[in-house]
């Protein structure tokens, strides 16, 4: 950072002084041996959970569809290896709450028998719709963490005539190097995936943004992209959260994404490098997304590095493979800035899990929070230009609407504010709490609207029923009276009661 910039308070984001990416990033890629069982979650994406198409007791093969997509935004799930389905039901989710979610548990037979899979020799000759269909069938979702299913995203891009693809090789989180590893070892796959995606979307150019702290990846990708003029490799400054789509888009294209809108609204579609590699495998080799490269890192790990692991492997098994040198004080899925703390190690990984961290007490140590001194460090650090200190003050006072009026919705939960805070305030937790509370309120409002509708409908129905009954009764009475009258007229006698 130059002196002038420093006097001006610096730019957004933080520069973690030690990104802890090496030596893990430099170790050779390892393939994890098959564990005894896998728990493949049904909801690994944004949207509706997949619906199981196998039953307990069924034998499955590697690559076999075990749960189908449901609805427009969803993704199917495939078996990562061969074995027998032993349970379909709740397992602990990789989430701090420790709450369960549904998963298909497969006890592996160790033979790893694969389903016959057929790729296409020239995916670029296929109709874009066919490419998208194959991406959907392979269960590919955004692997950078957003987990939006890739096929509907590509469709959206085609519909909005997106011209530019931004390929996210930012991987700005400390400790993580799985995308780095993909770019170093599978640069050709990534570039091929980018070309297939460009074909599917109809985009003319692709900008691959890679943080400049990954020179090996940049070199490998440049080499791979040499033949394709439409694909440009763009080194970007290493600054967290460069890997956030909005920030990367601004750095690469100079345009900001309007608040509350998707990048497609400004003609840009962002995809992760690992997603592109997965698209390549899906189209060329017919391979569904059931395994990925996971960074296992952290002070408690004996042999940190990148591991090719099946989706749904238990964190416990993953850590057993790399070994622990001491008891971790915290397990995190994802990076240290945005990752989720795990309640215990018996949780499965998901498609978007780029890293598992076993952190020591020293690594997570933070002094006790003290009062906010309004120093404004968080304002400088916030990549969205928010005022975390003002929002946090309102949340603390229980003024959630006041927090929302300061655009709490735009918060990425990137953690820059909490990272730089000299008072060590738990800002992210405070914002997440406020967002959750506001969401719950909105839900309650919707619910109230629904019940009000139902109650009104019921009241109307009851009134109608009563009216109809009354009318019927009146009719009967009238009929009886008429009968009476007709009976009385000739005889002049009273009806026997």
């Amino acid at each position: 950072m130059g002196i002038l910039e420093r006097l001006n308070g610096g730019r957004w984001g933080v520069h973690p002084h030690d990104d802890h990416k090496r030596p893990a990033a430099d170790t050779p890629l390892r393939v994890m041996p098959l564990p005894a069982k896998l728990c493949v979650p049904l909801l690994q994406h944004v949207g509706a959970p997949a619906k199981p198409v196998v039953a307990v007791g069924d034998s499955v093969l590697r690559g076999q569809l075990i749960a189908a997509a449901q609805g427009a935004v969803s993704a199917p799930v495939h078996a990562p290896s061969s074995g027998v389905v032993t349970a379909i039901g709740p397992v602990t989710a990789p989430h701090p709450s420790g709450l369960p979610f549904d998963a298909i548990t497969i006890t592996l037979d160790g033979e790893d028998r694969a389903l016959e899979a057929a790729g296409v020799d020239d995916p670029l000759a296929l109709e874009p719709a066919e490419v998208t269909r194959r991406i959907a069938d392979a269960g590919i979702v955004g692997l950078g963490g957003a987990t939006f299913p890739s096929a509907p995203k590509a469709q959206l891009g085609r519909k909005l005539e997106v011209q530019t693809l931004v390929i996210n090789g930012g991987e700005c989180e400390p400790y993580l190097s799985s995308d780095d590893s993909v770019m170093r070892h599978r640069a050709d796959d990534v570039i091929d995936g980018v070309r297939i995606l460009m074909h599917a979307v109809g985009a003319r150019t692709a900008l691959v943004g890679i943080e400049d702290n990954k020179p090996e990846a940049i070199a490998a990708m440049r080499e791979a992209a040499r033949a394709f003029a439409a694909i440009r490799i763009c080194p970007v400054p290493a600054r967290y959260p460069m890997g956030s789509d909005r920030q990367l888009v601004e750095v690469l294209t100079g345009k900001q994404v309007p608040a509350g809108a998707r990048t497609a609204s400004i003609g840009v579609l962002v995809n992760n490098v690992s997603t592109c590699a997965a698209i390549h495998r899906a189209l060329r080799h017919g391979e569904a997304l059931y395994r990925r490269i996971v960074t296992v890192n952290g002070g408690a790990v004996a042999a940190p590095g990148n591991v090719l692991a099946p989706v749904g492997v238990l964190v416990e098994d993953l850590l057993a493979f790399v070994g622990l040198k001491e008891a971790p004080a915290r397990l995190v899925m994802g990076g240290p800035m945005m990752g989720l703390a795990l309640p215990h190690a018996q949780v499965p990984t998901v498609k978007a899990c780029g890293g598992v961290l076993a952190l020591t007490a020293a690594e997570i140590a933070r002094p006790a929070p003290s009062a906010c001194i309004r120093c404004g460090s968080c304002v400088k650090a916030c990549p969205m230009g928010l005022q975390p200190l003002e929002i946090a003050a309102r949340v603390r006072a229980g003024d959630y609407d006041g927090a929302a009026s300061l655009q709490l919705d735009d918060c990425l939960a990137c953690g820059c504010c909490a990272y730089v805070c000299p008072s060590n305030l738990p800002l992210v937790q405070s914002f997440q709490h406020a967002k959750g509370t506001l969401w719950a309120r909105a839900q309650q409002k919707k619910r109230n609207a629904l019940t009000r509708e139902l109650a009104d409908a019921r009241r109307e129905r009851l009134e109608r029923d009563a009216r109809e009954r009354a009318e019927a009764a009146a009719k009967r009475k009238a009929a009886r009276a008429a009968q009476q009258a007709s009976a009385a007229a000739p005889g002049g006698q009273e009806m026997p009661s």
């Binding site: 946090a392 603390r396 738990p426 709490h433 839900q443 309650q444 009000r452 139902l454 109650a455």
Partner: protein, 175 residues
């Protein structure tokens, strides 16, 4: 003595006329606040508050005869919205420990008498005579009307199960 009296009388007359005219031009009808609050309420007229329906509760709120937490069905969010609207101080103590609840039918006791169906203000219970009844989670307000209707005690209220979607971080303890 006469002059001041005349002057004051004239002054009063003039200003009175002006105000009379203003009152006609800027007239406002009815109590809009009560109507707005009634619109915020669940509108099920479930009677849990002990008042005759949501409209009555809104009137009581505006009159200051009921606390902001009067509506159990609306829960804490509604109480907060009402308090903000009326500028009341809010004591959520009574509400906080309860949390949202929904009705649940114990299938082994249910005799399928269908009485609860009639009692439910939101038609949240499905079933027919001689059949086991079920509760629609989305529609149930947890008002408890069905509980009193049930002759066998098969219906009870239970807390809404927590899911990954509605789980929330606790408010951090700030220094």
């Amino acid at each position: 003595m006469l002059v001041p009296v005349v002057i004051l009388t004239l002054l009063g007359l003039m200003l009175g006329l002006m105000l009379g005219y203003a009152a006609r031009v800027f007239a406002v009808e009815g109590n809009e606040v009560a109507a707005e609050i009634a619109a915020m309420m669940p509108g099920t007229n479930c009677g849990q508050c002990g008042l005759a329906g949501c409209g009555a509760a809104a009137d009581a709120l505006v009159a200051g005869a009921a606390p902001a937490t009067v509506c159990p069905g609306g829960g804490a969010p509604l109480a907060q919205a009402i308090a903000a609207k009326l500028g009341l101080t809010l004591d959520l103590g009574g509400l906080a420990d309860q949390g949202p609840k929904i009705a649940e039918v114990q299938e082994d006791i249910c005799i399928g008498c269908a009485r609860c169906l009639k009692g439910c203000p939101t038609d949240a219970i499905v079933g027919a005579s001689k059949q086991i009844h079920g509760v629609l989670h989305q529609a149930c307000t947890g008002c408890g009307a069905c509980v009193t209707e049930c002759p066998t005690g098969a219906i009870g209220l239970r807390p809404l199960p927590q899911t990954l979607q509605d789980w929330n971080w606790a408010s951090p303890s700030f220094a």
